[in-house]
Amino acid sequence: MTPIVELKAATKDFRGNPAFLDVDFQLLPGEIHALLGENGAGKSTLTKVIAGVYPLSSGKLFINGREERLGTPAEGLAKGIAMVYQENSLVPSMTVAQNIYLGKEKPLNRLRGIYISAQQFLQSLNFHVDPSAVVGSLGAAQKQMVEIARAVHHKAKVIIFDEPTATLTPEEKSYFFKLIKKLKEEGVSIIFISHALEEALLVADRITILRDGRLVASDKASAFDRQKIIQAMVGRTRTDEIYSGASRTRAPRPRGPKVLSVENLSMGNMVRNTSFSLYAGQVTGIFGLVGSGRTETLKVVSGVLKRDFFHGGEVKIDGQPKRYLVPAPAVRDGVVYVTEERKAEGFFETMSIAENIYMGHLGGQPYGGLSIISMRQARSLAEDWRKRLNIRAIDPNAKVIELSGGNQQKVVIAKALVQKPKLVIFDEPTRGVDVGAIAEIHAFINQLADQGIAIAVISSYLPEILTLSDRILIARQGKIVEEMDRRNATEESIMYAAVH
């Protein structure tokens, strides 16, 4: 069988630093191919080359056996290759339907017409998204569904998904996997990048693993197991302990003083009369399905979302009633929100790692604007956080937008933690982060809690909730409906509470 896409001795470098090097890669017709590797291994760059975003620095790209030089994603699309990017690329001010039909509009579009056909199309994919909703108002998971729908709608022969499942709930994930299996039956070839190794083992026909830009293994999925994959990814045998939630056996930390209490808080129809508390020295996991209002609730608490005046409820920080209209006073009171949408509101893309972290530092000072910049302080802060979170970049002066997804996430975390908060709200803190780095970030969050900081972790990933939390809150339809002790919580009991 001739491969539908093939790379031979392919290299792509940025300013002399290779993102991947001397890679031979084959994608066969009608297969699901998982591409795995640590953060910064070169997965996104490799697939972007296939999609036409970057030309190769050296080596050859074959499509259907013919050598091609793609210069733009549009050329890739013309050859039947579509890509769903790691960071979303939807137009926030347009509706879901308009985004799906973007670039395929007829000269005269009947708006009602496209809503109806978009509705049917979304339903056929089993995605519950309102086609007339403005994309900017959707949560991350729903945006992801729109992205996927858009790629499928282009009827491409090859579809590349860069971490498509990172934002999906288990239920949505299973729909997604059914969807790609269906696409496969229709003869579409699929590359998907993921940090969830079980997923890869479950759905992929073949698996390719990159390490530091080199291809280290490529074989049938049945030739791998979790251990083998990790070994290939990190190139050394690590104890499986950090990967397998060993901390679940640790006794939950006791409650410290109450840092946050929320009483009867309401906002729009996303937050409905909800009440809960968070305590110092503890990690509180917050679980809920998409639309359960977890993100919105905590965004209101931290001033990121403004409550309108006629919606009531009380937020107390350390016993003091607070009503933050903007995040600045919350940050100064030590309440920081680490966003789930890093590209939209997480980092400054034209700035380097050091500048981003320094902006966090200045933003956290009472009169940070009036201070004089010290590049030396910026560099030493950056060095400190680079070590603590193991942020990796091939070039230390690279702009944050040039980092790999997982490393961008670490910069967002560093930029928030440099503000020395007493309450940190992590919204999907390990999205797009590799297995090893997840363990590092978890260990780091645990350290923070041990230092007496109050921590909330919003996550759609149950194992993450179970390993991290001392205490679990479950949100449903805009309200915290249940509190569980970690010791007697199971994936099933949490899921049950979240659904019923």
Binding site: A328, Q365, G369, Q419
Partner: protein, 332 residues
């Protein structure tokens, strides 16, 4: 193109664009010196310097706002009317320094109102500043003064010195421009507020979440640009001993935009700095002066300028797409 790809090209071209503009300016100067009769004459050089200084100061003000992802179309109106106010007050018997202080206060007040409309009422900067510009001009012609041209009272030698004097052989307007450039350079590069303006221009949502007081800083941007407009007005009024409000209806504001964009400060915000304004000012200043000496008619000059502006805007849009999201439309 993806964001990462554009950032990279943008970075490289940003540097070379500055260099290209500078080289073109030097070549133009050499060419004019040789080819144009009277270009190097003392009067013309003085004229050139006066215009360059005013253009440069206005552009510095515009730069601060554009870096924060806004635009200030009221600069020329604020400049003309605030100085006219000072002159009118002085002619009514106020001490000239008091009159100047009141003129500056007027400029700042306008900026605060404008900044408030943009930051809190969330009116797009382009409309807010355009509307305010019209209102300010209306006030100037209707309420503050009945004539377009108002003359500075006699015997204000210290003030006229700002426009006509020289220190160490260098004309005062150039000193003013240099001092403003240095001050803004330090402000943008070395202070937290300066960095915050870059942050807001880069990504306003990130800036907000990071705890930066976004809205007060937006107001501050317009206060700075209005204050620069006032200073530019001082330099101009001092050199011709009067202020002419008809300037508001000229194409000066486009020249300012031309300097900012050609100098390499993308309209996307978060990029560029004082250096870009320096090279942009020199190039545009030379070009305008040369065209006048060549006796190119005003209409043709405008045609040429607007064409260059349009080209610069197109190039800017290609290099710095206003919105990554929209620039990716072709991706999928």
């Amino acid at each position: 193109m993806t964001p990462s790809a554009t950032t990279k090209t943008r970075h490289r071209i940003g540097l070379t664009q500055e260099l290209i503009v500078f080289v073109v300016a030097v070549l133009l100067f050499l060419y004019f010196s040789v080819a144009l009769n009277g270009f190097l004459s003392p009067e013309n050089i003085l004229n050139l310097i006066r215009n360059v200084a005013m253009l440069g100061m206005l552009s510095l003000g515009m730069a601060v706002v554009v870096i924060g992802r806004g635009v200030d179309l009221s600069l020329v109106a604020v400049m003309a009317v605030s100085l006219t106010l000072s002159i009118v007050l002085a002619n009514q018997g106020y001490a000239f320094s008091t009159a100047l202080a009141l003129g500056l206060a007027f400029a700042v007040a306008v900026a605060v109102v404008m900044g408030f409309l943009i930051a809190y009422v969330e009116i797009p900067a382009i409309f807010a500043t355009l509307a305010v510009s019209a209102i300010v001009y209306g006030l100037g012609r209707g309420v503050i003064a009945s004539l377009d041209v108002n003359n500075i009272p006699d015997n204000l030698h210290w003030f006229l010195f700002l426009g006509r004097g020289a220190v160490l052989g260098i004309p005062m307007p150039i000193w003013l421009f240099a001092i403003c450039s240095a001050a803004l350079y330090l402000f943008l590069r070395k202070t937290g507020l300066g960095r915050f303006i870059y942050g807001i221009g880069d990504n306003i949502s990130t800036a907000r979440i990071t705890g930066i007081p976004v809205r007060p800083i937006i107001i501050l941007q317009y206060v700075i640009s209005s204050a620069m407009a006032f200073l530019a007005g001082c330099a101009t009024a001092a050199s011709v001993a009067s202020m002419n409000m008809r300037m508001v209806n000229s194409t000066l504001i486009y020249d300012v935009l031309l300097v900012v964009i050609l100098g390499g400060i993308g309209l996307t915000g978060g990029r560029g700095g004082v250096r870009n304004i320096l090279v942009g000012t020199i190039l545009i200043g030379l070009l305008l002066n040369g065209m006048t000496i060549l006796n190119i008619s005003y209409t043709v000059q405008n045609l040429l300028k607007s064409t260059v502006l349009l080209l610069a805007l197109v190039i800017d849009a290609l290099l710095n797409p206003r919105d990554e999201q929209t620039s990716q439309q072709g991706d999928i």
